[in-house]
Symmetry: C2
Subunit: 386 residues, 2 copies
């Protein structure tokens, strides 16, 4: 087991009708800026619930945070915060709104150009406004971690940042709030949480059997509920609850503590989103199967363990079992209605040069748990994903 | 899944040579009271390491906190804190030292009689001194939770308390610090963590498959490493690390979130420790098998799942499988060198009246996840444990 630090102070308020409890966790004299994406938070009544829970507190709403939130939009919110003196932020939405809120919380009091927050991967953050979240789309885990990703359109860059200053103070996780989501977003959430887990599990063994089993618990659970979520004629509360809690625990720092981590699939996927606006989860579904195929040798031991424990693959030679494990992974994503080939998104070989160039531009030249995924290897992975 | 709140702000510093990092987490101007049990922290050199990590900070050491720490001893430390103006506590030891430190942290600034902290189950705690811990004995999970148990000898009472004010600020978990422990304490740690998990798992199903699998991960892992820890001719770092992290995660609030909890075994066990000074883990090993036997019907579904997933019991009628699961549990404790009968500790039927009387005295008359373990049921459980 590797040495590690683990700390996660976010207060989770999980379950039915928990928005009403927000009032206990926001200072009585706070001036609150609520941040939302499109119109759905208003339409579903969630925003009204949130406003009621804030009681007499002064508050206003900033809407228009887009999927894969942009630096440009976030900076508009920063201006509002600064000009109108808001001192507490409240994200109502999914990972995009929460990621943007983290950035805004850090950027508002930032001295100098907030772009430095992203070029320093968050290291330059020294303070942030306190904020809470009301999660409506389970997927990214942003509701209980200290990271985010912001896209800058003018240079086509999707940049992750991380800082202990941007843990949410609290996050409300009400599974019933997912009932109005389109099924494609539920599918994205399942695949996103699944790949987050894989990134922290499918590397090489370090004698950490508990971390392995926790990760396998998440993968087994997502594999079990994924197809059921899609086929249910009406939303089933417990399955929605399990998806929500699984997505949170897949990326709150716990399962990655003390073990190697990969994240190469994410880094390549980010470029596909930045260039071609493909949903984050779908870029992961495109890259991961080819990544595993390319990394059969360095990931051999964990691929065999994954195949056996998650998919019940126990017969055949090692190579056959690995092939089967990768095939089951791809089939799972496809079952969730998510294409695993570039061509499923109308893209062909012509995009690969640009993606590889962007990886180089962004310093993504030594990816993976062994830091040996060079641009040439990324190219092979993309070619295998055509 | 049940509604729940989860928050755990403790910073874990896990791994080799982490004591040196304490300095980063204790305020530079802190006046630190180090709390220890017997002489072992001094003898093993751990205390010297801790003092060095504190650098120039003013500090003193209070030693003599006993296993199952007493109200009387803790109050002596409270007096020292108050008289000498310490403002930061540092527990160096196992669950007993850490539990006592939590109580001392809350009792020192407490207005009125600190006994009220225990009669209120911790609810009367409104503030506490900040404190860190250096864990040397993995077992209770106290290093990453907000609870403790204090024994008052004059009235033979062992009282639990809980408050969000007494989460450790940080805990250093260095697996190598367990190398000097006697093997009986390693065995205690395995059984303690195992039963902590059981208390939050082996109740009734609420459609929470992720929580189930996380609990099963802990049980499987402890069952796997337990015998290996005992038979290893020399300590194996990774197994010690896995025991330490397992014991922490077995009782940090995570696996019990959103599911029913039992704790009847603990409540009966506490009386055995208070009356007969049996190690905490050993009282659990005495009570649990009889408890499961008594609760075959209300726990049926989870007993079958536990037998299958933790012990691989898949054949026989339901009743046969439940019998086998309970037998495997008892055999596991015995394999760890821990007796599972009152007679193994020189006790007979004569103690039962007193234990039942004490349960009544302490209000423990409606135990278990259904609150239906009356003193009469506790009596049957103890009779079955003779």
């Amino acid at each position: 087991m590797l040495n590690f630090d683990f700390q996660n102070p976010t207060h989770i308020l999980f379950g039915k009708d928990r928005i009403a409890d927000i009032g206990k966790h926001v200072p009585a004299d706070a001036r609150v800026l609520i941040l939302v994406g499109g119109a759905s938070a208003e339409k579903t009544g969630t925003l009204a619930e949130v406003r009621q829970a804030l009681g007499g507190r002064q508050h206003s709403t900033f809407s228009g945070i887009e999927p894969n939130p942009s630096f440009e939009t976030a900076m508009k919110a920063v201006q509002v915060v600064r000009e109108q003196g808001f001192d507490f932020l409240l994200a109502v939405g999914g990972g995009s709104v929460i990621d943007a809120t983290k950035f805004i919380a850090a950027a508002a009091p930032f001295e100098g150009d907030p772009w430095k927050i992203l070029t320093s991967w968050g290291a330059d953050i020294t303070q942030a406004l306190p904020f809470g979240t009301v999660l409506t789309l389970p997927a990214t885990g942003s509701e209980m971690n200290n990271g985010g990703v912001i896209t800058r359109h003018d240079i086509g860059a999707k940049r992750p940042f991380r800082s202990n200053k941007v843990f949410p103070l609290f996050s409300v996780l009400d599974p019933a709030k997912t009932y109005t989501l389109p099924m494609s977003q539920i599918a994205n959430g399942v695949v996103d949480a699944f790949v987050h887990t894989i990134e922290q599990y499918l590397t090489y063994p370090v004698n950490a059997p508990l971390q392995d089993r926790f990760a396998e618990s998440l993968l087994q659970t997502l594999a079990e509920i994924g197809p059921r979520l899609l086929s249910a004629p009406e939303p089933v509360y417990d399955d929605r609850a399990t998806l929500m809690w699984s997505a949170t625990l897949a990326l709150n720092g716990l399962i990655g503590s003390g073990v190697p981590q990969d994240w190469a699939t994410h880094m390549i996927g980010h470029e596909l989103t930045a260039l071609h606006n493909i949903d984050h989860a779908r870029t992961l579904a495109i890259v991961l199967p080819s990544m595993l195929e390319e990394r059969r040798v360095p990931k051999r031991d964990k691929l065999l363990q994954y195949g056996e424990r998650v998919w019940g693959i126990t017969t055949g030679t090692d190579d056959e079992r690995i092939t089967a494990a990768i095939a089951r992974t791809r089939a799972f994503f496809e079952t969730m209605g998510i294409g695993t080939r570039l061509k499923d998104y109308g893209l062909g070989a012509e995009v690969i040069d640009v993606v590889v160039h962007q990886l180089e531009e962004h310093g993504m030249t030594q990816l993976g748990e062994h830091r040996d995924i060079t641009p040439a290897v990324s190219r092979r992975i993309l070619e295998a994903a055509l």
